[in-house]
């Protein structure tokens, strides 16, 4: 073998194994994060963590019951405002739209999806907090809903488009009109994909901190109703991690573990069970 060939073969082997190393590094980060959180947060998870309010500042003990409930309430609002708009908008793009408006909506959805979450926070502040003059669960829910809409809309559209046109024609041939065709044939056929998109979008905003900082703010107590500031898991992790107390740091780890587990489990379950094909493909 000439020296040139040996060089080429060595280069080949080196560079190809380096690309493997790149993947290894990237992928191992996830397992590292997971392992470190379980190690650090696992020992501070207790029944109290889920059922108690935070202890007074400076004292140890207490839990995060109000933050967990707060996060759930925020997610409920995000789903309530965001999902219907995203879903119906997606139906419009796939089934009704002409050319110009769908193009505009699609482009805008991608744009809105890329807006930094902290800017969405400013917008929700201007929209809800400024007129009401105080922070509230409602404002946080609006901020999260604005982040849910573009994802659900684009996802719904693409799954509706994947439904074969034979199904549409079949239902027209049986005399159904358009809305009936959409409601009873197309939407059910695409339902698994749409549900996947909705759940993934909610899992994403469940971990968002930045848009909540000056909308839902924070609260060391229960937040009754929808118009009071509320605590939430991501915000309390931030507050506790950057706070001065050792006990806060330990609770931040525990809360981090709960949040990460929630997000990852949702992602894994949804991606493995729901998104594997759509229902019309099985028949």
């Amino acid at each position: 073998m000439s020296a040139r060939l040996i060089w080429r073969k060595t280069l080949n082997a080196t560079m190809l194994s380096l690309t493997g190393v790149c993947v290894l590094i990237t992928v191992s980060v996830l397992f590292f994060i997971l392992g470190y959180l379980v190690y650090n947060g696992g020992k501070d998870l207790s029944w109290n963590f889920f059922t108690r309010l935070p202890a007074p500042v400076g004292e140890s003990g207490g839990g995060m019951a109000n933050a967990i409930v707060g996060s759930l309430k925020l997610l409920l609002l995000a789903a309530l405002f965001g999902v219907p708009i995203g879903l119906l908008g997606g139906v419009y793009l796939a089934e009704f739209g002409g050319r110009t408006i769908p193009f505009l909506v699609r482009y805008t959805a991608d744009l809105l999806n890329g807006v930094p979450s902290i800017v969405i926070g400013i917008f929700a502040y201007a929209l809800v907090v400024m007129p009401m003059h105080h922070f509230s669960t409602l404002a946080g829910g609006v901020a999260l809903a604005i982040m849910v809409i573009p994802t659900v809309l684009r996802n719904t559209e693409s799954f509706l488009r994947a439904v074969p046109s034979a199904l549409r024609e079949g239902s027209f041939a049986l005399g159904a009109n358009k809305w009936k065709m959409i409601a009873t044939v197309v939407l059910p056929a695409a339902s698994r994909g749409i549900l996947t998109g909705v759940l993934l979008a909610l899992a994403r905003v469940a971990g968002e901190t930045a848009p909540l900082l000056f909308t839902a703010f924070g609260n060391r107590y229960w937040s009754p109703g929808w118009l009071q500031p509320t605590s939430s898991l991501p915000v309390i992790i931030y507050t506790y991690a950057t706070g001065p107390y050792e006990d806060w740091h330990r609770q931040a780890w525990a809360a981090g573990l709960v949040l990460l587990a929630l997000v990852l489990v949702t992602n894994i379950l949804v991606r493995t069970f729901l998104s594997r094909g759509t229902s019309y493909e099985r028949s």
Binding site: F96, L104, L112, P116, A210, A241
Partner: protein
């Protein structure tokens, strides 16, 4: 008076099938209208977002004009607001992140698209997608308690010893600062570079690889000299997409950058970014000028990511469309 009975008569005559049909078509119109309103809501939200940012930042814009972008002082008490330290911090941390993340992401994408068997490739991509789903506050948590001490005791002293002649790696090792924020950002954006680049590489037609191999190229040569150049524009697209993410990333950066509005050539120095100052000061801002200066920072961030995202999508669309044969090459 006379027209009403006349108009009613034909409808009465053909009452059953035709009127029913008309009513059903009416239902279609209603469905059309409702879904259109939903789609229009999205447009309305976006327009309102831009409008609010523009109007609420008016006070700072008229008071400081273009000087806002070149002034270094940020003194809420004296009413002096300059965005330069924040813009500097945002750009420096994002640049560090790109330098680290692009080779890692593109290299990984090459492995997944060219070498790994399909099963392995898709399960590794799955893991990478999960990584993209990890909330940013979790990265911040690990950054604060794990990376910052390691940076202070090991990495920064090491860089000082080996590369200390460069102004980039001088000054005291605090642990927090531009470099640490850049590293956390890099870890966060690698999954985006990886998965988008992989898709772009997979869109390059098989013939091109086979032609290169048939000419006697090694696997690496066919990948690096044929496939990667063919996918180049799309890879740039994935980099812009990742850059847009890095610029707007808030929590992880806020927790490790040091939150000090300083402009220093050293990467070890604590700094500040646009998103971080918004996270820290927005809810405590007193006075309209202060608030409007912060909102102007938000506007700057919005415009930056808007331009980058637009560019990225255009580039990705161009390459994937070309690769799949939709556009002529």
């Amino acid at each position: 008076m006379a027209t009403t009975p006349n108009a009613a008569t034909p409808a009465d005559l053909a009452w059953s099938p035709r009127a029913l049909l008309r009513r059903l078509r009416g239902a279609d119109e209603i469905a059309h209208l409702i879904t259109f309103i939903a789609a229009a809501t999205l447009l309305l939200i976006t327009v309102l977002l831009v409008y609010q940012l523009w109007v609420l930042s008016a006070e700072a814009r008229t008071k400081f004009g273009w000087h806002f972008f070149v002034t270094r002082t940020w003194d809420p008490v004296a009413g002096q607001f300059g965005a330069l330290p924040f813009i500097y911090g945002t750009l420096v941390t994002s640049a560090v992140a790109l330098v680290l993340a692009v080779p890692l992401g593109v290299g990984g994408a090459i492995f997944l698209a060219e070498l790994a068997p399909p099963g392995l490739s898709s399960s590794l991509t799955f893991v990478s997608d999960l990584l993209a789903a990890v909330p940013s506050v979790i990265y911040g948590l690990l950054g604060v308690f794990l990376l910052v001490p390691v940076m202070r005791t090991t990495i920064q002293p090491f860089l000082k010893r080996t590369l200390g002649f460069l102004p980039l790696f001088q000054g005291p090792a605090y642990g927090i600062g531009f470099l640490t924020a850049g590293i956390v950002l890099a870890i966060m954006i690698v999954p985006f570079v990886l998965s988008v680049s992989r898709e772009v590489l997979l869109a390059v037609p098989r013939d091109q690889r086979e032609a290169a191999l048939a000419l006697g190229a090694t696997k690496w040569e066919s990948t690096w000299k044929v496939v990667v150049p063919a996918a180049r524009i799309g890879i740039f697209g994935s980099v812009f997409l990742a850059l847009a993410r890095a610029l707007g990333e808030t929590m992880a950066v806020t927790m490790v950058i040091g939150n000090n509005p300083r402009i220093s050539p050293s990467l070890f120095s604590p700094g500040y970014s646009i998103a971080a100052v918004l996270a820290n000061e927005f809810s405590e801002a007193t006075g309209n000028l202060y608030l409007s200066a912060l909102i102007e920072l938000g506007l700057v961030l919005f415009l930056l990511t808007f331009v980058l995202n637009g560019l990225a999508r255009l580039l990705i669309v161009i390459t994937t469309a070309r690769g799949s044969g939709v556009l002529p090459t």
